[in-house]
């Protein structure tokens, strides 16, 4: 497969139970735009144990919905999923395949890319087309505010994984496209693993939908109780830098940035974070950014509407008093 662009765009629509992840719908919105610019078709691909589950995807503008169904695909297994999807990719030869950069999305993407002997650009925060109509995925690099554009000019499909929240969630519209079901030939020996148990996490949070976020970084020293109170008062959620989630101060699904989520709140209050580019990509789409940092030269101030130079502790205390007054 060489660098042709007439094979259309595919999106892997990941399911959680009966519903689709919002990152998958975000990708359908973006891929519709890409497919139109490339003059190709958009296919939404979904995989699972029961037929009929793909119909809701028709509301997000596809030309086709492809359902791969088989009892052995009811729970995710990389090997079986790659076998089922790989066969369809080889048949239809799409130009591009976009996947959400979720844990299972990344797990699948790494395996599929090798099966297709193609290039994969991982957790991008933007997609553009170059002058030869190749996808360019933008990946924030080390500090210093640099991002790298990575493309795959010579192989197809071009594979890209995208963080949740990068593209806007499209509104559901009048259904379009046909639904085709394929039952792949699979047997037990095509599985590499079998789920034996699943312990659902009590609460999970989706920061991509939060209207207000109070973010703590290393500068909090690990005390998030007052930040939680602040978030509660503002009707918002607590978020964190990677330093704070890696340290175990805050659950990992509250991590903001390249490895975390890309947020779009009305207001984000950033406390004790330096403003590394891998973090700021996650807050740069907020309507208003306020930052508190005791280092006047911290790069976070370049990303803030209002910056306060000072110790965050007393500022948070005063703010709590002012809001409770």
């Amino acid at each position: 497969m060489t660098g042709a662009n007439d094979g259309g765009c595919w999106v892997y629509a990941e399911r959680q139970g009966d519903s689709f992840l919002s990152v998958s719908l975000e990708l359908l919105g973006k891929a519709r735009e890409l497919a139109d610019r490339l003059g190709g078709e958009l296919t939404a691909l979904t995989v699972g144990g029961n037929s009929g589950a793909g119909a809701p995807l028709r509301r997000y503008g596809p030309d086709h919905v492809l359902e791969l169904t088989h009892p052995l695909l009811a729970t995710y297994d990389a090997k079986a999923y790659a076998t089922a999807i790989g066969a369809e990719l080889s048949k239809s030869k799409p130009s591009a395949l976009l996947l959400g950069a979720t844990r299972n999305g990344q797990d699948l993407a790494g395996r599929l890319a090798v099966r297709m002997r193609t290039g994969l650009t991982a957790h991008v925060t933007g997609i553009e087309l170059d002058d030869r109509q190749n996808l360019v995925g933008w990946v924030p690099g080390f500090g210093g505010g640099i991002e790298a554009g990575v493309s795959c000019p010579v192989r197809r499909p071009q594979m890209v994984t995208v963080r949740p929240g990068v593209f806007p969630l499209p509104e559901g519209r009048t259904p379009t496209g046909d639904v085709r079901e394929v039952v792949p030939e699979l047997s037990e020996k095509d599985l590499g693993s079998r789920r034996v148990s699943f312990e659902v996490k009590g609460s999970s949070v989706d920061l991509t939908r939060a209207g207000v976020i109070v973010v703590g970084g290393r500068g909090t020293g690990g005390d998030f109780t007052r930040l939680e109170k602040l978030a509660r008062l503002l009707g918002g959620e607590v978020g964190a830098t990677r330093i704070a989630t890696d340290a175990g101060w805050v659950e990992r699904d509250r991590m903001i940035g390249q490895t975390g989520v890309i947020t779009h709140p009305k207001l984000v209050l950033v406390l004790g974070a330096s403003g590394a580019v891998q973090f700021t990509v996650g807050i740069d789409r907020a309507s208003t950014v306020v930052a508190v940092n005791r280092d006047p030269s911290a790069p976070i101030f370049d990303h803030a509407d209002l910056g306060i130079v000072g110790d965050l502790g007393p500022v948070v205390d005063s703010l709590l008093r002012a809001l409770e007054a």
């Binding site: 297994d77 090997k79 790659a82 979720t102 844990r103 299972n104 990344q106 797990d107 993407a109 790494g110 395996r111 890319a113 090798v114 002997r117 193609t118 290039g119 994969l120 991982a122 924030p140 690099g141 080390f142 500090g143 210093g144 505010g145 640099i146 991002e147 790298a148 554009g149 990575v150 493309s151 795959c152 010579v154 599985l191 590499g192 693993s193 079998r194 789920r195 699943f198 312990e199 996490k201 009707g235 699904d253 009305k266 207001l267 740069d284 006047p296 370049d302 990303h303 803030a304 509407d305 209002l306 910056g307 306060i308 130079v309 000072g310 007393p314 500022v315 005063s318 002012a322 809001l323």
Partner: protein, 265 residues
């Protein structure tokens, strides 16, 4: 149980400099460390070997300067360390990196369990472990925090940390697992083994020793290219920066909150 740990040496992120004019990264001046997740991977492998028996081989691809870092592995109890080093391996993306590592695993006698880190900290993608699994036609479990023996010797039980909960899978061997950062408390260097570690040579395999299909190696085997580097577009912010008392700061922040239409009285 033959266990291979894939261990990467990465630059300290804070020491990598960006050349804004040439828009390139200068890693040469940066000191290195073992990739944090890989230290947890190594501990997972050593602890598992200590319960089921067998041998742990540490495998890394990179320049000859990585060798001293790999000596930590035998010092904490790994049985063998192998470094894949050759100009021909350079410039590899995840497709080529995973091919090279997978080929080396075959070359050194195969493995029942291959343990990686979840992600490499220098712009890593977490794609190498599932890619190795595909090259080897092995099964895989990524983002694992725990592995224990399975019902039969042909399986292990792996617990994966997913966004919405924890999934435990019965995983057929041979398998690749990737371990999350902080999954365990890595053991300290055993100073009784330190002398052994220094004398234990890190085995270096170059292209000639590795073999493999040159079309899948290094730059040539990497279908992705960096099309460009650019400055991240700075958002249009007011950038008003104040040094004021805590109370004044709070009043200003409150005004900002009100302006955003968020205060509910």
């Amino acid at each position: 149980m033959r266990i291979v740990v894939c261990l990467k040496v990465v630059p300290r992120p804070e020491e990598v400099k960006v050349n804004l004019e040439s828009k390139t990264l200068d890693r040469a001046g940066a000191r290195s460390v073992l990739n944090p997740a890989d230290v947890n991977a190594l501990e997972t492998a050593l602890a598992f070997r200590d319960t089921v028996g067998g041998k742990v081989t540490v495998l890394s691809m990179g320049p000859p300067q990585f060798e001293p870092y790999l000596r930590v592995a035998p010092a904490v109890g790994a049985d063998e360390a192998v470094l894949l080093s050759d100009r021909a391996f350079g410039g590899a993306d995840t497709l080529a990196t995973s091919y090279t590592l997978a080929t080396a695993i075959g070359k050194i006698g195969g493995a029942d369990l291959i343990v990686c880190g979840e992600e490499s900290s220098d712009g890593g993608t977490s794609q190498v472990p599932p890619s190795i699994a595909e090259w080897l036609d092995a099964s895989q479990a990524t983002y694992v925090e725990r592995i224990v023996s399975g019902k039969s010797a042909a399986t292990v039980l792996a617990t994966r940390v997913l966004e919405n909960g924890k999934e435990t899978v019965e995983l057929d061997l041979p398998a690749v697992v990737s371990v999350v950062v902080g999954a365990n408390e890595p053991r300290f260097i055993d100073y009784d083994r330190w002398a052994f570690a220094q004398s234990a040579s890190v085995k270096v395999l170059d292209f000639a020793a590795l073999g493999g299909d040159p079309q899948y190696l290094g730059l040539k085997g990497s279908p992705t290219t960096v099309a460009g580097l650019r400055e991240v577009r700075k958002p249009g912010r007011r950038r008003e920066v104040l040094t004021v008392t805590a109370d004044d700061a709070a009043a200003r922040i409150k005004a900002e909150i009100e302006r955003a239409g968020l205060v509910r009285n």
